[in-house]
């Protein structure tokens, strides 16, 4: 564990957070599998604490190998506050359209492909981000509201990821996992980036969560 992380959270706090994320990602995967006939393989969630200005570089490094990405970005506002980023490799939007085809409204048929891809990514983003963030909030007894999602289709990673998610000098807590879509053999990344304003509340909420099991 790095020094900055050590200063912000204890090992036990990181552990509780990781388990909560594990439960939340699992719940999100089940919701997505319910909506689309898709089997999602989850990886062990990762928790990191970074300086806000290091975020774009960190995310770019994590998604290395993707020349172009499509991205869904959504703010969540509550005591648990931050930005959710769902990042897919180029081309995934079209694959998801094929899977969603039976559910897609017929008015989409006349839409240009990029508009349809945008709608599809937004829908998948809504399901994954909503299920995941809401589950974290539920476990920590918080209630979250969301901003409308922003979708960026087929862009270079450094252009797609906002450089100014948080004020420089602030801390950001990153919680992320890799969703591997078995049928498509591609992976998507879900990052939850919490602002430093959440840290004190989060620490308290983590212990409250654990207290019920003591």
């Amino acid at each position: 564990m790095d020094k900055l992380q050590d200063c912000v959270f204890t090992d036990e706090e990181i552990d509780i957070l990781q388990e909560i994320m594990n439960i939340a990602f699992g719940s999100a995967a089940a919701d997505l599998a319910e909506a689309i006939d898709l089997f999602v393989v989850l990886s062990v969630p990762v928790v990191r604490v970074l300086q806000a200005e290091e975020l774009p570089e960190y995310i770019s490094n994590e998604i290395q190998g993707y020349d172009k990405v499509s991205l869904v970005e959504q703010d969540f506002l509550a005591k648990f506050k931050g930005v959710a980023l769902l990042i897919f490799p180029s081309g995934i939007g079209k694959s998801l359209i094929a899977m969603l085809e039976s559910d897609v409204d017929s008015t989409f048929e006349s839409d240009p492909l990029d508009a349809l891809e945008r709608e599809t990514l937004m829908e998948v983003g809504n399901i994954l981000v909503g299920a995941c963030v809401s589950k974290v909030a539920e476990l920590l007894e918080d209630v979250v509201i969301y901003s409308p999602p922003r979708v960026i289709v087929e862009n270079l990673p450094y252009k797609a990821i906002s450089q100014d998610m948080f004020e420089p000098g602030n801390l950001a807590i990153i919680l992320h996992t890799v969703f591997h879509f078995n049928a498509q053999d591609v992976s998507g990344f879900l990052f939850l980036v919490c602002s430093h304003e959440s840290i004190n509340w989060l620490r308290k909420a983590l212990y409250e969560f654990l207290k019920q099991y003591e």
């Binding site: 552990d15 388990e19 995967a29 089940a30 654990l210 099991y213």
Partner: protein, 130 residues
């Protein structure tokens, strides 16, 4: 009768949560490991009556560990304890031979229900083997 319990989960917090849901007055012997390979090795060593197995773990995941444990002992009682509640996941682990699935986070009630079912299953197994 359940005497030995093995909990395989990479998260110490998840293990603590699960243990807190298990009655303390039954004199169970607990064994804990943090990955699938360690679970397999511990299973071979102590032959637990009941194994709780997480799925998403480093080194060896829970699915592989489940398969290997059942290869070793086809009567092994492995309860998959997971947050991944996709229908296909449930179907897959049940087809592989998991005894049942326990959804995370567990509750005292859900764990108690599993324990009762396993006790009954072990009794039936004992009777069948006479």
């Amino acid at each position: 009768m359940i005497k030995k319990l093995l909990i395989a989960d990479d998260s110490p917090v998840a293990r603590k949560i699960l243990k807190s849901c298990i009655p303390k007055d039954r004199g169970y012997e607990f064994y804990e490991v943090g990955d699938g390979l360690a679970a397999l090795q511990k299973y071979e060593e102590v032959r637990p009556d009941l194994t709780f197995m997480d799925l998403t773990m480093p080194v060896m995941d829970g699915v592989e560990a489940l398969m290997k444990i059942l290869e070793l002992d086809r009567n092994a009682v492995v309860v998959v304890s997971t947050a991944d509640v996709q229908k296909k996941t449930i179907q897959k682990v049940m087809e592989l031979g998991a005894y049942t699935l326990l959804k995370k986070p567990p509750s005292k009630e859900s764990v108690q229900e599993v324990l009762l079912r396993v006790e009954e299953h072990l009794e039936n197994q004992k009777r069948a083997h006479g």
